[in-house]
Symmetry: C2
Subunit: 287 residues, 2 copies
């Protein structure tokens, strides 16, 4: 057993799936859920995501050796402050937020001298929500990025790495600022763009949408509350990403307008080749 008692704060799709994965892979003796609503927590327990639950944070984190904050990004810092009031000394804390710089800076401070914080971002999940859609295999083959700061405890990050690998994830460690810049381009901007592609459709054009549209916009169906939080939290990097993409679109637009077949082919060929290389390299462990 990697952990004796794990407390998961926020038992939604990610928290619930992680609980189920920890239990099924025997990485924790007990998994406790902490949330707002007993009925959804009871459902999560029934689905095998957690062993027990409470709506009282202080009670939930008692004697835990790992606390996982799995709320939406916009609630993580607030929840961390509450947890810090009663967390057992030396307990490891991680979060699962899709942005990392602001969260890491603040949680490092909130838990300083109290608990050992390590930031995590499991890049799993989907447009589905809630513990009702939880799956113990959600992290199988998924990328999970951990953040390291000068304050990060070495033993704690090793434990958290072991947990993510234990549930099947491929792990990378980087600085929070690097995470935010890279993930803005690779995940946040594509989300904003997918929502834009949906929003510019007319009722007429939607009738002509097929499998390409389905793939390209699947992420646009994601939880708007969660994603507005992410966009505002990582605003600076996302704005930079939107600017780069807008420039790229303007450049392709000019190529199409002047009917430059060779330049257009070259642009599309580069995208096709990069996308294929990425697909092939995907899932290979960090070098």
């Amino acid at each position: 057993m990697l952990f004796r008692k794990v407390a998961i704060v926020g038992v939604g799709l990610i928290g619930g799936s992680l609980g189920a994965a920890l239990k099924s892979r025997k990485l924790a003796e007990e998994v406790h859920g902490i949330g707002y609503r007993s009925c959804t927590l009871a459902e999560a327990r029934q689905r095998g995501c957690i062993d027990d639950f409470t709506i009282d944070v202080a009670e939930g984190v008692q004697q835990a050796d790992l606390v996982i904050i799995a709320t939406p990004v916009s609630l993580i810092v607030e929840k961390a402050r509450e947890i810090a009031l009663s967390i057992p000394k030396g307990c490891i804390v991680t979060d699962v937020g899709s942005t990392k710089k602001l969260i890491t800076d603040q949680l490092d401070e909130v838990f300083a001298g109290k608990a050992l914080f390590v930031g995590s971002h499991p890049m799993a999940g989907s447009e589905k929500r809630g513990a009702t859609n939880a799956s113990k295999d959600l992290f199988d083959g998924a990328l999970c990025i951990l953040t390291q700061t000068p304050n990060t405890n070495e033993a704690a990050i090793e434990q958290v790495l072991e947990m993510w690998r234990g549930v099947g994830a491929i792990t990378r460690v980087m600085k929070a600022a690097d995470h935010d810049r890279r993930v803005a381009l690779a995940s946040h901007v594509p989300h904003v763009v997918a929502a834009g592609v949906v929003n510019v459709q007319t009722d007429d054009s939607l009738e002509c949408a097929a499998s390409g549209f389905a793939d390209a916009t699947r992420i646009a169906a994601s939880d708007p509350q969660l994603w507005s939080g992410i966009c505002l939290d990582n605003a600076r990097e996302i704005l930079a990403g939107i600017d780069v993409l807008t420039k790229e679109l303007a450049s392709v637009r000019a190529i199409i307008e002047r009917g430059d077949e060779q330049a257009l082919f070259e642009r599309l060929r580069r995208a096709s080749q990069r996308r294929r290389s990425w697909e092939e390299a995907k899932g290979k462990p960090e070098t």
Copy 2:
């Protein structure tokens, strides 16, 4: 049997899959492939896509009652002129091009008084290419748009509709110009954008790309030759679509920059809701 002899000009992913579908569903007595290279045609025959093949167009269309032009968009008109020289009088001709206005205008003229042309656009296929990836089930549940002009023969369009329905497609009939406008927004612009999203990635950011990126950019891996042809053929509508999307992105950018949580939530909520409604309505027959 719907047709006695079907000739497919261009036995790639779409042509090969259609051949296999026609054969497996017994919609044609014989399916002949016409192409440039005997070796790829022989492979298509071996895979059950066609019964026989030739590299001679005149020979291939002899005694056909349906000719399907399944070349890339940029070659359709040229190929049609060649076919028109030897097509049996009264034969039905369709194409599978992803753009329709220019093709329909020209093929109506090319085949006037010779054969009965009906434009088709089966919205199936993927980033995979060639008859080696052909599947007899490719059109199952896929949308297929047929175009109608004042010249379109009623009996011919009925036959072509019956063929697409026979291979499992959901059909719609519209004017070619309407097709091009609607499909630019729902398919062509998303392709251009997906390629752009890939091209703006850095090597660093690609290392942080996960399942959302995979979905959003799957279509960017498509054949660049095919897609540069489509973009240039439907340039006017695609440019208009890029402009609408650029405006939408600028508007979302401004919302993020000013940190307007309510407006951002509203924008993402609208996208999420529309995407979900579309998913639910998808596949329901035309009303």
